[in-house]
Symmetry: C3
Subunit: 251 residues, 3 copies
């Protein structure tokens, strides 16, 4: 038995929207402690690591650990049918091999999604030695990426004692966004050692575009290491983490 | 002479928008009592029955009953040029064989539409023995149809003592909307005998999509009978009625 | 050295947006007195004449008159990345032969644009004997043009003692907008001699569509003369002027 109820459908909707930008099929693991999903995108450049504990739900009943194979694009279509303030109930229909999603608002609307076979792969949690971290307004990151998109395909992230720089350069021009220590949009800055690395803009856009622009993102960076982006979910009770492989500059 | 003035262009705009989703050409009959139009869609699956009495207008002068052949798509384009709060004046220009539509707001804008020949067909008013009726928020019906669209081509309407159910089912999943007696969005429920019937979603979407989501729709239903949907116009002084043929389930 | 700072990016954004609808490449002349740009559209039907004096900027340093060749479409893309309330700094990077555009808001974002070679043509200021003028709400002109677009390719402007008329006519119907002396949207009317002339709607739409609908346009008209449209910039400190050649009616 799997049944989980949350007060606001938009929490699940935002999570599914962010995952669906990178991954088409996913295995959600429901245990008594909560829901987890870890998967890589088809080209193995980005890893998604999602966790939402039982206490993030108003009601949560999972008797036995259960893995549900979900087509994220289909689930995203269903979630986009809900209103932000609707109550959401997820419920496994074992007989029909479907997941029911019920929205309670002006009416009660139940949509169901056929479950699919998803090969569950054990992905070890990567251990990375990041040397700098920052907590930044999501809207600012989205702006910096859109600027960079006009110029090139890759974008450089830099964290040092002064702050965060996001930059791109090509024959078409240059783009550079700076957040300095003290700027309101730079909520935290923690630099053990200055770090910089380059990433593919397309992936970063897919990761960040469905995030609420008013939320915060935690960035962890190490020179030429993958970029780690953490988005808090349900007021910080859960999170979606993305790890994105760097582009190593020639020379 | 045909001249009719209404305080808010949006009343006529909504009506024309709803009709134009189903019908391309229509014969509007202006009599001293008001305006009427009855027509079937090209595939004879839906009937539109429109009535707006003279008292729904601020000024209404029709000396002699006159039938005006109108291309609804063209009239819809013109109406979409008006502002919701503009005053609207409809006036026949017999010399030019055109209908003038004047919007009075920040400026005075007069657009004219060539009249066309439309074969006027006498459509008898169907007598149907509906057994259940409900008055429902239009937005809820629109939601139920959009849900159902994700799943299949047909949608089932059911009215019984408990309330209204709109549902669809296919290999792609299921969708079910319920309004229960007591729900705010179910303004009235009147069931002599429980009734259910199935309809084509595409037609229902065309009928309902231009309605204001905050308005009310009156639904009349009988098992395997056509569905009757009434939309009040001009605060209930007039109405647009749609009758839609059912899809009979095999077996 | 060329450096100019303005309090609100939207002032420059609106100007660039309006120019970019007509012209792809432009030579901006920065002198100690301010910025000027005059150019004709590729088909030589419309002339753009832009002036923004030094006092329209918070900070303005131009040591030596400098002509900057700009691809307006590229600059328009960059300007659309700024927020309306951002501060904007334009700064010439002589070494890189680029123009830097810096937006200061929640973050500091610097984008740069490669300068291009634009043949600077001396366009004499046309001397035209207009006989009638009016100051009109931009939104009303935009409405009149959209109405006329539904009907034909050309639109007639008429100014006389009664007011302004914008009209079009074809087999498809007629469209006529009237603003009368005393209408709020007709801020000024000054008629020495009644005037009318016909213009291509497509050009007029391109000229007016990026203007703020709440702003005012000054219209100067003479029978069969070009139409002159003036849009105030930065609270009237500068302006964009458009001159559009008339269509002469046969007969």
């Amino acid at each position: 038995m799997v049944k989980a109820r949350m007060a606001e459908a938009k929490v699940w909707r935002t999570c599914v929207g962010m995952m669906a930008n990178l991954i088409e099929e996913a295995a959600f693991k429901f245990t008594s402690e909560g829901v987890k999903m870890r998967a890589m995108d088809p080209s193995h450049i980005a890893l998604v690591d999602f966790e939402l504990p039982a206490r993030a739900f108003e009601e949560y009943s999972v008797k036995q650990s259960t893995v549900l194979g979900i087509n994220l694009l289909e689930m995203n279509k269903i979630m986009s049918r809900g209103k932000a303030e609707d109550e959401l109930i997820l419920e496994l229909d074992e007989k029909q091999n479907r997941l029911g999603l019920t929205f309670k608002g002006a009416s009660t609307r139940r949509l169901s999604l056929p479950l699919i076979d998803v090969r569950e792969v054990e992905l070890p949690e990567p251990k990375l030695q990041f040397t700098a971290a920052a907590e930044v307004s999501a809207g600012v990151i989205q702006d910096g990426l859109k600027d960079a998109e006009m110029v090139g395909e890759n974008v450089k992230f830099e964290l040092n004692e002064d702050g965060l720089t996001i930059s791109a350069e090509s024959d078409r021009g240059t783009a550079e966004l700076k957040l300095s220590r003290g700027d309101k949009a730079l909520a935290k800055l923690n630099v053990r050692q200055a770090a910089k690395a380059m990433f593919n803009i397309k992936y970063l856009s897919d990761i960040t575009k469905s995030a609420s622009s008013t939320g915060l993102i935690t960035i962890d960076l190490g020179t030429d290491l993958p970029l780690q982006l953490d988005f808090p979910v349900a007021g910080g009770k859960g999170r979606i983490r993305f790890l994105l492989a760097p582009r190593i500059e020639a020379g």
